[in-house]
């Protein structure tokens, strides 16, 4: 199949689908989706998956360490909570804009912003999970001679897993959504075709990109539910 590669956002080239666009701009042009799947939509989708995975991965690593430290040293909970809540309240476009002078129009800028927004949920849920372990279970573990590290690794973390995975699910879904906004700063991920389509008022492009983002969020959420179930067989065991 021969098709012309799409150009930049300002002078878009719709290739063979031009006719479809001229005739049907008020409607949905499935032909365009077919023609631009491999040069526009698929790369954007893959970029979006990477944006999300890296943001949640780094966010979780930071939040995990913060929750372990806060779990050990209780007095650190209020300042860390306040800091993550503060990050969460900063308007996203403003935050990305503030970062540009520091890190430029790069994927790094987007990732820093996205990581910041995951911390509140990931820190809060991980800490809540660690704190939800019944005190008698901890006492029995210590009484049996488990060291502090063994209590954490063998008892507290496995029991915190449901809360941790609930936090990761929320973080993944919100990051997928928020990452589309980040394309306003750096044209990357599914946000790029959304902004492109909006700019030239071409419905098909931003609608299908939005649908892909929603689909990605639903699939990611469903996959995480399955992973969590596989890791916590004991939660479904009832008399």
């Amino acid at each position: 199949m021969t098709h012309i590669v799409a150009g930049g956002p300002v002078i878009p080239n719709y290739g063979k689908a031009t006719g479809c666009i001229v005739d049907n701009n008020s409607f949905f042009c499935t032909k365009w989706i077919h023609q631009h799947w491999s040069d526009t939509l698929q790369p954007a989708l893959i970029q979006h998956i990477w944006l999300t995975a890296i943001a949640v991965g780094i966010g979780f690593a930071i939040a995990f360490v913060l929750s372990l430290v806060a779990h050990r040293f209780n007095w650190l909970v209020p300042p860390i909570s306040a800091f993550t809540a503060f990050l969460y309240t900063v308007p996203s476009i403003a935050l990305f804009q503030v970062l540009v002078p520091l890190t430029g129009i790069t994927v790094t800028t987007i990732e820093i912003g996205l990581v910041g927004y995951t911390l509140l949920i990931l820190f809060g849920n991980t800490l809540a999970g660690l704190r939800s372990v019944p005190p008698d279970v901890i006492e029995a573990a210590r009484g049996m001679g488990l060291t502090r590290l063994q209590v954490l690794r063998r008892v507290e973390l496995p029991l915190a897993l449901p809360a941790i995975s609930a936090g990761i699910r929320i973080a993944v879904v919100t990051t997928i959504s928020l990452a589309t906004v980040a394309a306003y700063i750096t044209p990357y991920g599914l946000g790029k075709p959304i902004f492109d389509g909006l700019q030239i008022n071409y419905h098909t492009e931003y609608v299908i990109s939005g649908v892909l983002a929603i689909g990605l969020a639903l699939i990611a959420d469903g996959a995480l539910v399955l992973v969590q179930r596989a890791l916590t067989p004991w939660r479904r065991a009832r008399a």
Partner: protein, 330 residues
């Protein structure tokens, strides 16, 4: 020999003026507690709440640190032992059981053996052996704690504490959260188990009846962890050392003493034909139950029968009363 090695069946525990003081509190939680628990005996720590009994028990495995004095296990100070080694050598049972909800029953029981590096097969075999010992089935090893009843959970807790065959068990109100019928059943089974295993047990309860039933010796503590009396149940009921002990054991201490003795423990009179209408009981019936039966039936004597229903002797109301006034024989 290492007092906490798995081959040791029981250990002698000595509290030597053990004291626990919390900063900012004028009165210690445990005050110069001194007592010796002979190897293989059940010592019950009993007293009103705030009496320091749980604190005293937790000083043994150092879940609570000792401020002054010492506690020794077969002559070795618990303060000189490595914390994790000390605890892995002591079976620990608590009221809420504290089973790990994310681990199967088998893995719960295997916790300490796994920490000690036992081979997998030995851990599995041990779990099955213990499940049968505490009256559960081998198939239960695969279930999760959420699938068990309260009584079953406490049995698993007991099996878990016994896993590495520790010479000492600490039990903190182990049957406190269980319904009365199951509790009595578990108490009886534990006593049977103890006759078999002969481990040293420190058992905490606030229930004097449970203390009398379970204890070879009872230590009664009153507020501030001060030892009010340390003796056999019979001696405490016969000769309370103070007004506090007398009040704590209750006005029915005579009846409680009767519940310590069974028909087979006392000298019976020959069964006479005059007692044909008298109520009958077994050799295992306690004197208390026999007395109750006599009073209910309005009889002055009771006939004791063997398992086959043949009379082996009889006991009169007067003799029960005489027995209570006898000196403690133990």
């Amino acid at each position: 020999m290492d007092p906490l090695s798995a081959s040791a069946t029981a250990a002698e525990i000595v509290f030597d003026r053990a004291t626990k003081r919390y900063p900012g509190r004028p009165q210690p939680a445990v005050t110069e507690l001194s007592l010796t628990i002979p190897a293989g005996e059940i010592c019950v720590l009993v007293g009103p709440s705030g009496g320091g009994k749980t604190t005293a028990m937790k000083m043994v495995n150092r879940l609570i640190s000792i401020t002054e004095g010492d506690i020794t296990i077969d002559g070795t100070s618990v303060r000189s032992l490595d914390l994790t080694e000390l605890r892995r050598g002591i079976g620990y049972v608590i009221q809420q059981v504290g089973l790990f909800p994310h681990l199967s029953v088998g893995d719960n029981i295997g916790t300490v053996p796994k920490l000690l590096g036992w081979p997998k097969k030995r851990i599995r075999d041990r779990a099955v052996e213990l499940l049968e010992l505490v009256g559960l089935e081998a198939a239960d090893a695969k279930r999760y704690p959420a699938q068990l009843s309260g009584g079953q959970r406490q049995r698993v807790g007991l099996a878990r504490a016994l896993a590495a065959n520790p010479p000492l068990m600490l039990m903190d109100e182990p049957f406190g959260a269980i319904d009365p019928i199951t509790r009595e059943h578990l108490q009886d089974e534990f006593l049977r188990l103890h006759r078999e295993l002969r481990k040293t047990v420190i058992f905490v309860t606030h229930d004097i009846d449970e203390a009398i039933k379970m204890g070879d010796r009872i230590a009664i503590l009153h507020s501030g962890g001060i030892l009010a009396q340390y003796d056999t149940p019979d001696e405490i009921l016969a000769n309370p050392a103070s007004e506090f002990v007398e009040r704590f054991v209750g006005a029915d201490r005579g009846l409680k003493r009767l519940s310590l003795r069974r028909m087979r423990d006392v000298e019976l009179e020959p069964a006479s034909s005059a007692a044909a209408d008298a109520p009958r009981c077994k050799e295992t019936t306690t004197l208390r139950d026999a007395l109750s039966l006599m009073l209910t039936e309005g009889s002055h004597e009771i006939v004791v029968c063997d398992d086959g229903g043949e009379p082996v002797g009889m006991l009169s109301l007067q003799r029960v009363s005489d027995l209570l006034r006898e000196q403690v024989t133990a």
